[in-house]
């Protein structure tokens, strides 16, 4: 089964078309990474799927339901989306920000019920933030902050999380920490994860399924072994890449590359 299907999806900013007639399937229970050069429209696809960007034509199906027929709060119970480097309100604590994830479930004046508190505590625990619950988000490091946003998404109790470049501005070890957290969520809790990633090797290392986009359409898709091949990377990124299988992870890695002349 697929978590997300798009048919004939078109996205445009004013008159300039970014994505045209996109047909994409995101498999359920897997980690999917979307890769592509700058300005290829990969973030736009993620936002359109996450209904934070209005698309021009076509349709997006979430678990085989047309998202335009679903109430936005109902979607928020099935799919969480984290934009690229979101900013927290000044002075908000970790616990308060994670509690925002309960918004779709709250009614009226919105006091947190016992069940809400349990789920928030669980989200903090899974992301190893329990100790920091009362700290102000402003005082955290970039890696911790990204974990707070992920915890907020967990508190939404969806089975699908979309992330736009979750590793931006993070150093090497924190990039890995965030991606391993997402990988754990996928393996242990069964989350379907879709993320746009800039770094090809990290994308190939953590993905079950990859989608490569260029110029607004999908150039190729499949397992990392199918996508991380020289001719595909040549077409998508205009690079002449040397790919080897990395022994520690068993995943394809681009060791070096030149520009295609």
């Amino acid at each position: 089964m697929d978590s997300i299907t798009t048919t004939n999806l078109a996205i445009a900013y004013d008159e300039s078309i970014v994505i045209e007639a996109l047909e994409m399937k995101i498999p359920h229970g897997k980690i999917t990474t979307i890769i592509g050069p700058n300005g290829c429209g990969k973030s736009s696809v993620l936002k359109a799927v996450g209904r934070i960007l209005r698309f021009k034509a076509g349709a997006v199906y979430l678990n085989e339901e047309d998202i335009t027929t679903l109430a936005t709060k109902e979607i928020a119970k099935k799919m969480a989306i984290l934009p690229q480097s979101p900013t927290a309100p000044h002075g908000v604590t970790v616990g308060e920000l994670v509690a925002y994830g309960r918004f779709p479930y709250q009614r009226g004046f919105g006091r947190l019920a016992l069940n809400d508190r349990k789920i928030i505590a669980w989200s903090l625990e899974v992301t190893k933030l329990s100790e920091l619950e009362h700290r102000s988000v402003d005082t955290l490091s970039g890696g911790q902050r990204q974990r707070v946003w992920i915890a907020m998404a967990l508190a939404q109790q969806t089975d699908l999380i979309l992330l736009d470049e979750p590793t931006t501005y993070l150093d090497l070890s924190h990039q890995l920490e965030v991606l391993e957290l997402l990988s754990d969520l996928n393996k242990k809790q069964g989350y379907t994860i879709v993320m746009v990633l800039h770094d090809l090797n990290l994308a190939a290392r953590f993905a079950d399924y990859m989608v490569a986009i260029k110029g607004g359409s999908i150039i190729c898709h499949g397992t990392p072994d199918e996508v991380m091949v020289p001719h595909a990377l040549k077409e998508v990124f205009q690079i002449d890449a040397q790919i080897v299988k990395e022994p520690r992870t068993g995943r394809p890695v681009c060791v070096t590359y030149d520009l295609v002349r």
């Binding site: 908000v92 308060e96 918004f103 004046f109 939404q156």
Partner: protein
């Protein structure tokens, strides 16, 4: 677990302490305000009059002149503070304030027209006043929204402030032009309104203002969670299932209605909507469920104290309350502006 539990308790007791202290200060300011004025009343006098033992003159001073004015000052302070807090929340801009944005001025223009059309203050005309003010403030707000809104970037904070300040200056200029048409007493009224003198200090005005606040304030408290989530940015809010555009418009309309109904009776008091949310945020943090009540208390206290100063500093004359607020508010605004540029 133990340490986080303790931290939480500490935070809760701090919030309760803050609200208590603000409440006590407000009560003290009410008592002080009842005592002071042209006729000074001792604490003993005050008790006696409140218990029904005052002379006709004393009753007149306390129940007809001072009390409605004290109540108006508090209500207006709370209303303007909440209005500022909402606008700051939806614009994600700490420098927003209904006065600075020209929303008060829009209301003022209508108040001036009102004075031109109804030179005598009949009861009916007093109740139409908030509606007229709302129309003026609403038009100003819509105009600012349209001018500051850009299709792809949305509502840019800086453009909002610049548009608002421009709007405020423009409307003030229009008022000055109107002033040429007025006779001397009307002219006096307009200058008094612009300086922010609480002119509608009678029970009729309290009754004209109260229903507005009784409807709007609970509604705004009801929207506390939405304001919280909007503070995390448009994309996060959309992702959490907030109908962002719709909520923003409704909340802006509530903020405009709060500001308009308040300044209709109080004159153009600026800066309360700027300072009160700031102080409140420093005291209790950014969560609107507690921030909003704290903000209302802070605003009420601020205008209440300013009004005491306004009434007593240069007796037997008085300074417009808005000027007293501005003496504190303008430097605070500049301080925030300087801080935000860093």
């Amino acid at each position: 677990m133990g340490s986080t539990g303790r931290q939480k308790k500490k935070k809760n007791s701090k919030i309760i302490a803050v609200l208590l202290v603000l409440g006590v200060l407000l009560v003290l300011s009410i008592i002080f305000s009842m005592k002071s004025g042209y006729t000074h009343l001792t604490f003993h006098d005050l008790l006696r009059i409140l218990l029904g033992g005052g002379s006709d003159k004393e009753n007149l001073v306390l129940f007809t002149f001072r009390m409605p004015r004290i109540i108006i000052a508090m209500l207006v302070g709370a209303g303007l503070a909440l209005s500022g807090c909402i606008i700051q929340g939806i614009a994600r801009n700490a420098l927003a304030d209904p006065g600075l944005l020209g929303i008060n001025a829009g209301a003022g223009l209508m108040v001036v027209l009102f004075v031109l059309l109804f030179p005598t203050k009949t009861a009916l005309s007093i109740f139409t006043l908030p509606f007229l003010a709302l129309i003026g403030a609403g038009l100003a707000a819509v105009l600012i929204y349209l001018l500051a809104y850009k299709n792809l970037e949305g509502l840019s904070p800086l453009r909002l402030i610049l548009t608002g300040v421009g709007m405020q200056v423009g409307i003030s200029a229009a008022m000055i032009v109107l002033v040429i048409l007025l006779d001397e007493s009307q002219f006096n009224f307009v200058t008094v309104w612009q300086a922010g003198r609480i002119w509608g200090a009678s029970w009729k005005f309290v009754i004209a203002l109260l229903p507005w606040l009784l409807v709007l304030v609970p509604y705004v408290f009801f929207k506390a969670r939405v304001l919280d989530v909007l503070g995390a940015g448009e994309e996060i809010a959309l992702g959490l299932g907030v109908a962002v555009e719709q909520e923003r418009r409704i909340l802006l309309a509530a903020a405009v209605a709060l500001a308009a109904s308040c300044v209709a009776v109080s004159g153009n008091i600026s800066f309360v909507g700027l300072i009160a949310p700031h102080l409140a945020r420093r005291l209790v943090g950014p969560g609107h469920q507690i921030l909003l009540p704290c903000c209302a208390l802070t605003g009420a206290l601020l205008v209440s104290i300013s009004d005491i100063i306004a009434r007593t500093l240069v007796q037997p004359s008085e300074i417009p309350t808005g000027i007293v607020v501005a003496v504190v508010g303008a430097p605070y605004f500049l301080y925030l502006l300087a801080k935000s540029r860093r």
